[in-house]
Symmetry: C2
Subunit: 337 residues, 2 copies
Amino acid sequence: MKKLLVTEVALRDGSHVVGHQFTKEQVRNVTKQLSAAGVPYIEVTHGDGLGGSSLQYGFSKEYDIELVKEAVKVAGNSTIAVLLLPGIGTIEDLKKAYDAGARMVRVATHVTEADVSKQHIETAKTMGMETVGFLMMAHSAPPEVVLEQAKLMESYGADVVYVTDSAGAMLPSDVTARISLLKAHLSVDIGFHAHNNLSLAVANTLAAIEAGANRIDGSVCCLGAGAGNTQTEVLVGVLERLGYETGIDLYKMLDLADDVRTNLLPAPQDITSGSFIMGYAGVYSSFLRHAVLASEKFGVDARDILVELGKRKVVGGQEDMIIEVAQQMAEKRVRVS
Amino acid sequence: MKKLLVTEVALRDGSHVVGHQFTKEQVRNVTKQLSAAGVPYIEVTHGDGLGGSSLQYGFSKEYDIELVKEAVKVAGNSTIAVLLLPGIGTIEDLKKAYDAGARMVRVATHVTEADVSKQHIETAKTMGMETVGFLMMAHSAPPEVVLEQAKLMESYGADVVYVTDSAGAMLPSDVTARISLLKAHLSVDIGFHAHNNLSLAVANTLAAIEAGANRIDGSVCCLGAGAGNTQTEVLVGVLERLGYETGIDLYKMLDLADDVRTNLLPAPQDITSGSFIMGYAGVYSSFLRHAVLASEKFGVDARDILVELGKRKVVGGQEDMIIEVAQQMAEKRVRVS
């Protein structure tokens, strides 16, 4: 029976859903139940990683290092993990997270920029942390490029490399192509992180496992950016039916889901037209608001703007491209008509 | 490019979600937009089919034959379909639906009881209706049995046979096994109807198409029993990315989804612990309420009751088995402790 290691991301990716307003009590309550259910890794950080609390990304209610401390208190046998995006978070932040008790770090870069993770991965390894290289927006690069970048992370010392479908844009065949290539050429563990924008998070996770991934991300009640992530409690049940071993107690996860639904979830996370179109276009969910504004200003369908941005493979931080694209589309339309 | 024919079921399976309270205006509004988007078939009936309006299944706000008439008025090039479960609906109901303008009927039976559909399928064909045999709870019978039953429906004259995952219990491999066997041995079209209880509705639909199905069901905003059906607007986008032709305008479907979300949906249809467990156990969503009551009475976990019911392959109408199972489990526990 194949063993899988699940990382629960509701207390990090789910931070986007609650506007980064998690309280210490909420973090303790959820962590305690996750630990009791046997979830091996629990990620606790601002949605955009360590140092994410800012004007640009949204201020946290509680400094995330404090939330890590709270989680560690009740984590039991579970490992508390943090997310670090070099450029947003620093080595200094990482050290603070370690001091707070985090023992795994996921160092995340855009899929073509693994080289910026070198110093952070090396430092984390020196500190004795389990270290994950996290290649975001992995749909936007061909499998060979993902492999080349994953090899860089492996060479820096990462224990695991993740293929991360940040925009929820992948189809199962996209997942299989990337994971199987990594599995064939890397000796470290391979992970997969999904978003549900095309209603394929569970299916893509199954495709990843079949292709060789043994590290997978889930989020209770789908709590995560866009349409949310792979719903942990559903995934655990499906994996059980397929004969995989996660070590997670299904009923305890379902009880936690009921608690989260009642006491934490602002609204059920289904797939809205907005979150669907982000997956369809293959762009970050943070682009939607800007595209809607540009749509109103230039009289161009927001969906067409997003699809065009996806074709141009825009990355986080390039929000100014949205205006440019909308303007060009409006001008083109005038010339045609 | 493979062509697929979509049947939109929100105005039938979605009837469960609104307690069968669809108004004439709602039906006209949704039908009009579905037709404008190019959806070829639109099913309009009480959630439990013609004649479903009753104390047992819930009274409709509007008699569904009247709703069919309203839909037909604005259906344009789309065909209005009705669902008929022999035993709930009658030949007389079918004639009324035909007179109201319905031109497709889906005759639904439990997966092992296709023989009860003979008279209804034959009558529908005599009346000149496009006729679908709809094998419900198809997860609960092995592929060879599904084939044998599908052959019966084909022999009665059905133009299409559907594999129907009523409980949302199938994994993609379950779908592939059933659809590919039917495809190999039948000459009529093969269809697939999914529920999203295991978060696999879109993935299962893709598996069905790959195995040879060319008729598929979708529901805008997932509007349907349990965790809802395959979300039509998401499916249309995914199929477009995969190069399949549905003839459906994606943006018009997304606009309709926005409208339904704002004006019709009581609450977003995500996967609750309750709807998940129905798919996990493989039982009808109508069993949940009874299982919770039995759970309280006998002090047995409702989830264990449902899983046991699934093992015993209970069917609709056997709700009294729930008490029996709960009682046996409570007694067994007493003996053990």
